[in-house]
């Protein structure tokens, strides 16, 4: 697709049914809406931290749609659209950000560190690129299990500089693992532009050095991302080898709520990408030209999606926080004696002095 949503090369049109394309669009826009509201909520002091996905929604949804639901996903931190496409409920996104009683992470991690076993999305971990060798290990296990299952590992162009990335790529190739390495090249690693991150020809050019078949795609063309991922998946399963996809995109938002990108890039540059080359608008043009979408529906959907997000948001904010005794569990699989003693000590302490603590905010 070009920037006006017109198919450039008809032989590469995946001819996806309307229903599926609508799902692409709704996942991307719902994510965008959720991002806006949660970003604002951090500015208002309601959650402690947030990272938006503005401009990269195409990379998430295009790739997620090309996978099987059971394919294992290792992310970095800017892949919430993959979870959104896999129908992770808004309540769960919010629960993790608020650290409330519904958070599967039990309030232990900072916001956007999502994880979902049922949807095969490995919990996000902060240190960069550590997920890459782990993903390779998981892919190796998948190969051993002979299960028509692959692993996809997402990371940014900055994280690709880490030593772990080198080790991961090399092992994936030598161990012949069914893995897709998906690099979101979005132009910046916090403030470090790609010109300072590397001098070579991006990340795709590194793949052949390891013996990994690689491709560079327009990350803002959701169909191109879909096509590349679909083919990579097919071959990874059939041939037990790794593939590298470098999706060129642009990080429209700040790195996180702790960043103000106007310090290192111009507003004009950001606006250019936002207005001229956005995955959401490109898909909308495509849908409109086919008569699958119009301004009326756009207006209605915007209202509806905003309402959905706000409802989940207000609900999440009202919910209690997890029980304090959960401080001690999950360090090991079984709770060791000295932690149990400390847990009991806390329970006793709260029984006597509970009135001095904001226990009403926590689940009993």
């Amino acid at each position: 697709m070009d920037r006006q949503g017109q198919i450039i090369n008809p032989s590469e049109d995946p001819h996806l049914p309307q229903e599926k394309v609508l799902k692409f669009y709704k996942s991307m826009t719902l994510l965008n809406t959720m991002d806006r509201i949660l970003y604002e909520s951090q500015r208002q002091g309601r959650i402690s931290f947030y990272m938006t996905n503005y401009g990269e929604e195409g990379t998430h949804v295009g790739s997620a749609a090309a996978l099987d639901n059971t394919d294992l996903v290792f992310g970095q931190y800017r892949e919430a659209g993959v979870l959104m496409y896999r129908d992770y409920p808004l309540e769960q996104f919010m629960a993790q950000c608020y650290g409330n009683v519904n958070d599967p992470g039990k309030g232990r991690q900072m916001p956007v560190h999502y994880g979902c076993k049922e949807r095969h999305f490995v919990t996000i971990s902060s240190p960069l690129a550590t997920q890459i060798p782990q993903a390779v290990g998981a892919a190796y296990a998948a190969k051993r299990a002979n299960a028509n299952r692959i692993v996809i590992c997402y990371f940014g162009e900055g994280a690709a500089s880490e030593g772990d990335a080198h080790a991961g790529f090399n092992f994936a190739a030598t161990l012949e693992c069914p893995i897709i390495f998906f690099c979101r090249n979005n132009g910046y690693a916090i403030s470090t532009p790609t010109s300072e991150q590397y001098r070579g020809d991006g990340i795709a050019a590194r793949g052949p050095g390891y013996g990994i078949l690689s491709i560079r795609v327009d990350g803002n063309d959701v169909f191109a991302v879909y096509n590349a991922t679909k083919e990579a998946r097919r071959r990874a399963v059939a041939e037990n080898q790794p593939f590298l996809i470098e999706a060129m995109t642009y990080r429209i938002g700040h790195h996180s709520t702790s960043d103000d990108s106007s310090a290192y890039r111009s507003v004009d540059e950001v606006n250019y990408w936002d207005k001229q080359d956005h995955p959401i608008s490109r898909l909308r043009h495509y849908m409109q030209s086919r008569g699958w979408w119009d301004d009326e529906q756009e207006k209605a959907w915007r209202k509806q999606s905003r309402k959905k997000v706000m409802e989940a948001f207000e609900e999440a904010e009202r919910k209690l926080k997890p029980n304090p005794s959960l401080l001690f569990s999950d360090v090991y699989q079984e709770m060791p004696a000295q932690l149990r003693k400390q847990q009991e000590s806390l329970t006793r302490h709260l029984q006597t002095y509970g009135e001095h603590y904001p226990l009403d905010h926590f689940e009993k």
């Binding site: 902060s126 240190p127 960069l128 690129a129 550590t130 900055g158 994280a159 500089s161 880490e162 030593g163 772990d164 690693a189 916090i190 403030s191 470090t192 300072e196 991150q197 590397y198 310090a263 290192y264 360090v331 090991y332 699989q333 060791p336 004696a337 000295q338």
Partner: protein
């Protein structure tokens, strides 16, 4: 005459001068400086003082540092002194070490210390040990019990003999938690008798339980890994002199079986710990702290003593290597000192 009067006059002048200075001397007003500012000042001063000093790390330059510790420094010193690196802690830590080896003075900033773990190999094996290192020993011979024993979420076991090795590795494999097994390379080739029960396929040694290798009455000697053997040798020698040592093989570093050690100390009233690791923040330190915090403290008739490896990276020359770890004579010496004999 002039000389003498001069001499006399000068002291008087000095005294009055001192008195005069005292009157006008006032201490500067107390200055409030945040830790961030203090760090910034320190770096700024050193950058100014020595051209060879430079700062490298992620986001330290135009961004002023992810936590603003290097605010203003890039503006003042420019690209040559304040360098933004690509995202590779291992990479830029290694670069910093190399630069230091070549005569520069790098300040290597990790955005958070958690991220330094990605460079821990460079920090320990290159930076910390290079000055001392002259061969293979320093990077292959360190005891990591204290390192890993520090971390919640890990279990850490340290076998001494063949029975320990077999039973612990089987338990470790079956355990659903991550387990670090600290094998001592020097023990690999040493033969031990394997008792019948240890020959079974289901033989397991429980993680978290120490073993009393040799019961005794006069002093508790606690060790893990290879030093257990040295302690038993020391005990044999001392037995001839009428001193009966109770030697405890820890087997597990984390979770530590402090109860067995406590019960023993309550019986013998004396304690030494023996380990191959470095003296600071080590296994022995943890044991002593826990003894103090528990019931056994009141039963000690003398302070507990730690016998440890020497506080140096492991030297390569055999004679030096042997002398960098506790030997039987060191253990005997510590026991006798504690027992005051």
């Amino acid at each position: 005459m002039a000389g003498v009067s001069g001499l006399v006059r000068r002291p008087l002048q000095q005294v009055s001068g001192l008195l005069r200075r005292r009157f006008h001397q006032t201490a500067p007003a107390a200055l409030q400086v945040t830790v961030r500012e203090a760090l910034n000042q320190g770096m700024d001063e050193e950058l100014e003082r020595d051209e060879k000093v430079f700062l490298l790390g992620e986001e330290v330059a135009q961004y002023d540092g992810a936590y603003k510790v290097s605010r203003g420094l890039w503006k003042k010193y420019g690209d040559k002194r304040i360098i933004d690196t690509p995202i590779s802690e291992m990479g830029f830590a290694g670069i910093a070490v190399g630069a230091a080896m070549a005569g520069l003075r790098p300040i290597c900033e990790f955005m958070t210390f958690n991220f330094s773990m990605q460079a821990i190999d460079q920090v320990i094996n290159s930076a910390a040990k290079t000055y001392y290192m002259s061969g293979v020993a320093a990077q292959h011979s360190q005891c990591f019990a204290a390192w890993y024993g520090h971390c919640p979420g890990l279990k850490v076991v340290s076998p001494w003999n063949s029975e320990d090795a077999k039973g612990l590795i089987k338990s470790a494999i079956r355990d659903n938690n991550p387990v670090v097994m600290l094998e001592n390379e020097l023990m690999y080739g040493v033969p031990f008798e394997l008792p019948p029960e240890a020959q079974s396929k289901d033989f397991l040694i429980p993680i978290g339980k120490a073993k009393i290798e040799r019961p005794g009455t006069h002093i508790t000697v606690v060790a893990h890994s290879r030093p257990v053997g040295h302690c038993l040798e020391a005990a044999t020698v001392l037995s001839k002199e009428g001193i009966e040592c109770e030697v405890i093989n820890m087997r597990t570093i984390r979770p530590m079986d402090i109860e067995t050690i406590e019960a023993s100390v309550m019986k013998t009233n004396h304690l030494i710990t023996v380990e191959g690791g470095w003296p600071q923040f080590g296994v022995g330190a943890e044991i002593c702290a826990r003894i103090m915090e528990g019931p056994a403290f009141n039963f000690l008739d003398a302070p507990a003593v730690r016998v440890t490896g020497a506080d140096v990276p492991m030297p390569y020359a055999k004679i030096l290597e042997d002398n960098s770890v506790p030997q039987v004579k060191d253990i005997i010496f510590a026991i006798k000192k504690t027992l005051n004999v």
